[in-house]
Symmetry: C2
Subunit: 432 residues, 2 copies
């Protein structure tokens, strides 16, 4: 039986998961694809901590170059993370004609083009299924399964921490800060949660999905990014009364050749599939011009789910190596036509608006008058009773409106004497 | 630019969809993969009917051999359907060293092994993504995306007609026969609906999914198959009151190396993702030992969705051809260990049981006594009031029970004087 010799750089949670997966299922994999995956070397600065998996003597090393320069190793898995030393390791591995598997979304979203150019130059592959949607084979679905389609829209729940927080807020009626604290204590959120809750992790994944869909490598900085810390318990309840749930969505749309790239808290129908993606789970909703609506669901993070995607990439590369067809389908192939990213002001969408206003006659007339002036049509308006305060919440769902017009209208509304707080605005995505 | 020369046999709805898809997106596809798909010849007995797509002069022929023997054609798409002449065409195409794409689940479920052997012998590929789940790239997900996993369970909503009927029964409170008639008039069900509503189409797809998951080519006859005609409006309402929806499920499970293969109406939680798959849509729920639960959703049939999957297969084969790596990943690779299919009596599952019983004291004691005798534990029991009749419905949800024991218990219950109708039994799948 042929063997595929694998080197791993970074022996943390996911690295241990990859080793465990291969130890458990190597025989099954070899029956399916005709070669046995073998972990030949593993590099990490710390090679003494017990990761819960046993590796043979001589496999561990503290020197990443022992992996990169080993002539037996055919594929290098980068699991160091970050955008500095990880990039160096990948470039060196590619220069040594090793194909690479990585789960590093931040690195790809920032330096993707440079890495792909290096892979092309050296005639090897770089594969990254685990970088978006964890164990869900969503990049394979997008790039191969839907290859006949022009992609019209992608909506994704791509950050398990945010979805866990929003789900608990909904189920327990608790506030954002209380749930975040509990999530941190339970290990579901980082001590510094900004990367997750401010939407940056989702923005990295948004950039990768959009790049694969449209043949232009977008940078995460081009993604209009909004986090979930502005979502209150009030908003979740009002959304629920109107038949919606609030999710942090990656939003990618093509409109007349222009690409919309956003990360926003958004109301999705409570009865929709995306609305029913709960807890740490992820889902990617893709609409193609031929296939229509499709969705892909699973665990978006964690030792095992991430390992499942990394090993799937290893198998894919192993098939290329054993069939002598590296670069059969390059990880990314650029083409023209979709490089223009819309300004956020150009976006046309439906919106949820919550205003805090004085409970007195004429307020609704003023607010609706300003919205009408900016050509914003109201789909529904609800004014909430509140006996304990002189101000009440007014919840407005708009029909499709231009973002710039809504911003102008809300700027006028915000300075009304009757308006006591900055208006809260979220997107509505009806999955139509 | 390189070209991929394609021949199509069968110019019906799907054939026209494939032509339309390639006409629309050939340029995009060539930008993505480096070759342009070209429809070189199309064979059909009827070449005069307008299919809504234009093809150049000389492409159409009434003779399938014109396609199969054309030396320029690299891939043949079989869209004739059925298990007789379609098989002949595929075998001849393979003998002419053409790779083949087919959507023919009945043929694959019946003669898969013979077709795969012929493909292997001739060094070409046979690909069939459209045969299960229509436009959903679920076979690719199972075979490639989850290749690192041992599959523990697959649950599928795989027949759009059945799901459309069950959804309308639920939403409109109408009976099976009324909805079936309306579905037939609207073109969502065949004049002879047996293949769909009796579960045979789902059984074909179940056999294909299980074969790919477990390395043994199962025959559709090995699938314990039950249709939806026994599902009444009553059952749908009772299920709903208990928090469930009734779906026709493909059920595939591995238990101690033995494979459970079934098609059954089953109660799934109304709040679950599978429970929210409505209308003609399909979904495949796959649990792997590494990745955990995943799900794949989309249109399971229709001209465009099926074409999306067929053209994805053509692109996959085109990549193999242009990279000189045919049989890089054979369509099916057999291995040992999972060939034993469980007898239905061996199955252990949760069950929904509806009895029609006399409304008098002691009935529940008798029924529960018989269930206890067979070691069947009751999770919940509800007796329905009914003022218009002396018999009432008793709805029992069991804990996990052996199918054989339940059958024995129900045989005893059925002959009780107090029991007025044959008991109705459906599976419960909690997606745990």
């Amino acid at each position: 039986m042929k063997e595929l010799h694998i080197g791993i750089i970074g022996f943390g949670t996911v690295g241990a998961g990859v080793v465990e997966t291969i130890q458990k299922n190597a025989q099954l994999i070899s029956q399916r694809v005709g070669f046995t995956p073998v972990i030949t070397r593993i590099a990490d600065l710390d090679i003494t901590t017990d990761r819960g998996v046993k590796v043979p003597d001589g496999v561990l090393t503290t020197n990443a170059m022992d992996v990169i320069e080993d002539p037996n190793i055919q594929v290098v898995v980068e699991l160091v993370g970050g955008t500095t030393i990880a990039k160096t390791f990948i470039l060196k591995a590619l220069q040594h004609k090793k194909s690479v598997v990585t789960a590093n979304k931040a690195l790809l979203a920032t330096y993707g083009q440079e890495l792909f150019a290096a892979a092309q130059e050296n005639g090897v592959d770089i594969w990254f299924e685990a970088s978006v949607g964890g164990g869900i084979p969503c990049l394979k679905a997008l790039r191969e399964g839907l290859a006949a389609n022009h992609v019209q829209e992608i909506l994704g729940i791509l950050n398990g921490t945010c979805n866990y927080i929003l789900t608990r807020m909904e189920q327990e009626g608790a506030d954002f800060n209380a749930v975040l604290k509990a999530a941190q204590e339970a290990g579901y959120a980082e001590a510094n949660p900004a990367l997750d809750v401010d939407g940056f992790d989702t923005a990295h994944k948004t950039a990768i999905l959009a790049s694969l869909a449209y043949g232009h490598w977008f940078n995460a900085k081009q993604v209009d990014t909004q986090g979930i810390s502005s979502v209150t318990q009030q908003d979740i309840q009002y959304a629920s009364e109107l038949g919606y749930r609030i999710k942090l969505l990656a939003i990618i749309k093509e409109v007349n050749g222009h690409i919309q790239l956003g990360v926003h808290p958004a109301l999705v129908p409570a009865a929709s599939l995306l609305g029913n993606v709960s807890g740490v789970f992820n889902a990617v909703w893709i609409r193609g011009d031929i296939v229509g609506n499709t969705m892909y669901y699973g665990r978006g993070a964690g030792r095992q789910a991430t390992a499942s995607a990394v090993v799937a990439d290893l198998i894919d590369l192993g098939l290329n190596i054993s069939n002598n067809c590296l670069r059969r389908l390059p990880a990314f192939t650029p083409y023209d036509g979709y490089e223009h990213v819309m300004e956020s002001s150009e976006v046309i969408a439906r919106y949820y608006v919550r205003l805090q206003v004085m409970d007195k006659p004429g307020v609704l007339a003023k607010v609706s008058g300003i919205l009408a002036k900016y050509d914003i049509s109201i789909a529904s308006v609800t004014q909430k009773e509140n006996s304990s305060s002189s101000s009440v919440a007014m919840v407005i769902l708009t029909h499709k409106a231009q973002d710039a017009a809504l911003k102008s209208a809300l700027a006028e509304i915000a300075v009304l004497d009757e308006c006591s707080e900055t208006p809260v605005v979220f997107r509505i995505e009806d999955l139509a």
